[in-house]
Symmetry: C2
Subunit: 308 residues, 2 copies
Amino acid sequence: MNLVALAGGVGGARLADGLARCLPPGSLSVIVNTGDDFTRYGLAISPDLDTVMYNLAGLAHPINGWGLVDDSQQMIEMMRRYGDEAWFGLGDRDLATHLLRTQALHSGKLLSEVTAQLTEALGIKSKILPMSDNRVATMVETVDRGLLEFQEYFVRYRWQPVVKAICYDGAELAMPAPGVIEALEQADGIIFCPSNPVLSVEPILQVQGIRDTILNRNVPCVAVSPLIGGKAVKGPAAKLMDELSLDASSRGIATYYGTLIDGLMIDTSDSDLASAIPQKTLATNILMPTVEERVRLAHELLDWVGKL
Amino acid sequence: MNLVALAGGVGGARLADGLARCLPPGSLSVIVNTGDDFTRYGLAISPDLDTVMYNLAGLAHPINGWGLVDDSQQMIEMMRRYGDEAWFGLGDRDLATHLLRTQALHSGKLLSEVTAQLTEALGIKSKILPMSDNRVATMVETVDRGLLEFQEYFVRYRWQPVVKAICYDGAELAMPAPGVIEALEQADGIIFCPSNPVLSVEPILQVQGIRDTILNRNVPCVAVSPLIGGKAVKGPAAKLMDELSLDASSRGIATYYGTLIDGLMIDTSDSDLASAIPQKTLATNILMPTVEERVRLAHELLDWVGKL
């Protein structure tokens, strides 16, 4: 069974890890949002790619979900000594990733090539595919602070500014990275991970050909809701959907994705929403703080996709 | 009293620190070798500039003499995980320096400008001047491994290859950095720090105008020997001088510098060499493992220079 997962940050990475642990080696491809990518201290940083990669390598920080386990921030402390604000807290071990990626990109390699090299070096058997090798920058138009780059909104201002609109700069010109369309076309099932639909999944869908390929699929596509009881498990999904006048609930997630998905996995506590969701639903415990929970959720999901 | 010191690695940096502690703030300029500079992981690294800067900031590793105190090597460990040989052990805190410098150089700043910014941010009152803003690369021709870049010779192969010749690639075209000639011309005294004459001081002398300005001085110029009893206090000075058929002793240091220096400070244990040295000599304890010893040596040196 070839499976494709679309993933953004921590929730997506955790489910991808669960799926990778359930499936035969090499049968999972994860298409990852790169709209959050940015440059800091001259380093090319791809937070979502790294979060997925570290989770699939078993190296992710167990509590944060992003960054590396047992990492430190000595470089950042020294930056502060130099008078730098250092609002983006890069880990020391994490820097190896950014240095290797930056150097490879400067030497003319594509992001997809670097990603393949790094994942292989960490012994990851699944394919991690950036959505595109072209620059796409998720920009956040806020009420008080104007137009912010994604990481300024997300990290510097801790997603507190009220959002008026989101745009995906460069998306209309971005081509899918090599292997992305092929993976979708050859998949036996497609999963939208429990990632922020507007900030993590939508940038992927905006890349040329990806939305259409999913719309034209003849295999099941299901999403796992990132919301429980109208609140995000992690991050700004509910707050942001509310500010954008979207229905900040699992029902709203179903509406947002529409015919892109055949089914939505929701939390047991949201079971009462099932009747208001036109797609098929499966209610279960969608929290996955531990590896065991990820594997359990991935198994339930794979069983369900197999029956759709 | 305006003093100029020419410095390379750890010995030079330690004496420069001693001098800075003895002199009124702002009256010391240190002209630093950049022939060891190189690029690693895309980072512009200036080992001697950093060693001088960290020592003058009171942040140097107390035992090694280079690198930062309380630093770690998490980035390097992760590099190894990615399969990189990682033979050059960059510290995590140290990375902040390389990142800021690299970013500034990429944005079009000169090495001398970046160095001034970094030293000011660390509260250093002395001037730290790279010998040149142009690239000079000390290259080491070895018997067994052919032509090596300096850091390959020095760090990767731990200065074990037998050296046939040294060359200073780019030196004939290199212009002194802004302030270098002015500092020498306005100095009341010039010090050659106890650095390797061939690897650390000679590259500085090779830059256009520097050797001639020193030869034409009308103020005292003295060197502190980097050798005691025919052995280097630290590093390859004696081994290298021997391989290059130079006299690997304080007498050889005096011969090497010739009329560039008026006097040579030698270790008490080398007093018997004084009669064979044409320049003036002062024998004292030239070891300076502690800050107190650096200050003591700097005081003796300043007293001596004042009398020449």
